[in-house]
């Protein structure tokens, strides 16, 4: 077993995915099945490797946008739109950069340098982009504070109107009725 296969197997094991059976582990690009009746009418795929399931690669690809115009991140595009020619190539770029020893931040920086800031699925929280992140929360906080202040002031100013304890002209309330009403109100606080 070569080193790549060994590392790949170890990675799959760590990820909780294990492939077993009688068929030997295939190298990427090699096929071990029987020919299809119409191979031209189904998408062709390479053999899934450990790098395809690497959580670091996956996390990185979820931060980077596919350039095919689909509006999806690289990971979602390459595992959803199997006709896309761009996301597999971008995936290979991520894997190659990782294999070259780049850490996640360096991989992202390399992508931004090559494709521009729009390659990121979310803009970096710096400069003008901070407005994007902070404005909604700040607006809600500001509006909430204003509402709170106004309400507190109004609540202080608004003296509750005293309710007449017993309007003139009405018969005296029945204590039993009052008790029923008190219990009903206690049950249904509406």
């Amino acid at each position: 077993m070569n080193r790549r296969a060994l590392l790949g197997g170890a990675m799959l094991g760590l990820l909780g995915t294990r492939v077993s059976g009688q068929v030997p582990v295939a190298r990427p690009d090699s096929a071990v099945g029987d020919p299809l009746y119409r191979p031209d009418l189904v998408q062709q795929r390479a053999v899934a490797t450990a790098a395809d399931n690497d959580p670091v690669v996956k996390e990185l690809e979820q931060k980077l946008k596919c350039t095919c115009g689909c509006n999806l991140d690289i990971y979602v595009c390459r595992t959803t739109d199997f006709t896309c020619q761009y996301s597999p190539a971008l995936h290979r770029e991520v894997v190659d950069l990782r294999a070259a020893g780049k850490n996640p931040e360096e991989v992202v920086a390399a992508f931004v340098a090559k494709y521009g800031e729009q390659i990121l699925m979310a803009p970096p929280a710096e400069g003008f982009n901070l407005a994007g992140y902070l404005v909604p929360g700040a607006a809600v906080l500001l509006a909430g504070s204003l509402i709170g202040l106004v309400l507190l002031r109004r609540a202080r100013d608004a003296a509750p109107e005293p309710l007449p304890s017993h309007p003139a002209g009405l018969p005296a309330p029945n204590p039993a009725d009052q008790e029923t009403l008190r219990r009903a109100l206690a049950d249904v606080q509406d």
Binding site: V23, V32, A139, R183
Partner: protein, 679 residues
Amino acid sequence: MTLLGQFCLWLALFTALWGAGAAFLGRPDTRPDLARTAIRSTYGLAAALFVAALCLWKGLLAHDFNIEYVAQYTSRNLPTSYVFAAFWAGQKGSLLFWAGILSFFGAAAQGLTSRRHAALLPYVAAVTNLVVAFFVITMLFAANPFERLLFTPEDGRGLNPQLQNPGMTIHPPMLYLGYISITIPFAFAVAALLSKKLDTGWIHAMRKWTILSWLFLSAGITLGMWWAYVELGWGGYWAWDPVENASLLPWLTMTAFLHSVMIQEKRGMLKRWNVGLIVASFLLSIFGTFITRSGIIASVHSFAQGSVGAFFLVFLVLSAVLSFALLYIRWPLLEPEGQLESMASREAAFLFNNLALVGIAFSVLWGTLFPIISEAVRGTKITVGPPFFNRVNIPLGLFLLALTGIGPLIAWRKASAQNLRRQFIAPVATGLVVLVSLLAAGIREGWALTAWALAGFVAGTVTQEFWRGIRARRRMHGESIPGALAHLVARNRRRYGGYVVHVGILTYMVAFAGMAFKVTREVTLAPGQTAELRSPYGHTYQLTHLGVSQYNQLNRFVSAASLEVKKDGVGIGRLTSEKRQHRDSFGRNTFEPSTEVAIRSDLREDLYVVYAGSVGGTDQATYALTINPLVMWVWLGGAILIAGGLMTMWPGGPMITSRRRSETQAGYEAPLVGAGLAE
């Protein structure tokens, strides 16, 4: 048929404009004849557009490929149900669908509204007619569904394979119905402003329309999530795509309105805010359509671009300016009648609920538009995707969930400390029990823990509300628990239906939090080979590849890959995912191959299998395997939410029979002062 359709569009345009003009020229008190004309015009408009719709359907079902729209969206071998649904699959047909349904709603609003609100109806007719006129103008001058080609193709292009799903027949119409029906509450709000009848009458007149619109939007959004989940194959149901966001925006403002309107009804407060919310909901529904059709923001849902976007932009700006100008002019007439008396009151809780809902709507709108803003300010294109929306909206969503539980616990006007303590103990305890149980189970995902604990709190609130009501009825009427529950709900459908809606919302939230534990793997298997996938619940799935079979079916060539599935060694069935190459009736390939997902669902999780393709043209297959926890709860949440909404708007009040009414009516007779008054 196209000539008749075209004629009906022109007839509809003139009828709509004539009706609107008559409404503005003749008020019921000065020119009742013109007011009646305005109202009748809505029926004529609906009839004209109904005939136009029949003409398009006739063209679609007859495969008249000389009609550009028919050739663009159907083919001879397209199943009939999808030929029927192709009506709303494209830009032009959906505009006709929109105009037709709105004209029907406009006519229904005239026919179903009580005569007590007669003064509003001519203005309501004017507004609905003008909105319909806009859609008809757009069709006639920019996107005519009856446009003919210079030649007749032998077959049509067919329908996009992703639209060939049963969801296609129901999801887009539901969403459209939601968008479209918002026009009716908007029309009543504008009518109230124009007629200066700004008491609660207009609110009563359009309350059920508001709930109906909210229900359609809720159903449309949930069906859209389901469609995305089962059809698109990316293993999720919400991607914060601009068009998804656009459907959420009016839903949020309508939800805010449904809460704040209660304060207006009970306390005479928030009148300006409520009119503003209805106007905003209408504008957001047009904004959503503008986004879909203008191509201004990149979206997977976009229609083919054309000049339609400019029409929508002009209409959006005009509507906004006129509506808010009218609101400004009538501002002094919308003085509140009451004052808030305490921060510890249901009114205050509802205000913060509105803040959270409108805040989320604002943040979604802001995130959707931020790429344009950034490009305008910095000249740099950026992408605002799920990481942004999740970061900004999850805290706001949890705040809203907390308020869902808090609101019903606080009394109107002012709650005492003793009352608050008594009300909060059980729900807070429920939330804490959920939190401690989850921590004990080893769950450490912060957002998911918070969401589930808050869901426990809300569930505690709702249960307590129901239980107290049942207990009160049992004490006062000696009813059984089921009987007390039935009478409780029947006598206050709005309140208890609202609580059921809250259960739907908490069910959604529980499900959304479950996605934090999603597991995804990609594997390549030869026949007989097995892959294992560990569930977050601890069990393991063994998936054995059986092979790939290929065959012709209906309008497609299918490559189907099958897996035998075992759970901890026990067989649980077979999953088959397909690749479909769609073809026209001459056997030519149309569109790119599409994917059919295989899903095994239970209440705990979905096993979601996608056949990605084959290796080297053999039956060795590559699969994307996903475990999505709690997805079924999303669909359950939708069903509960809609059931609750239906309860709130179910017609009729307490179910009192005439016999019971005569039994329960008791008291004494009092002679009227002055016998003449009785005449």
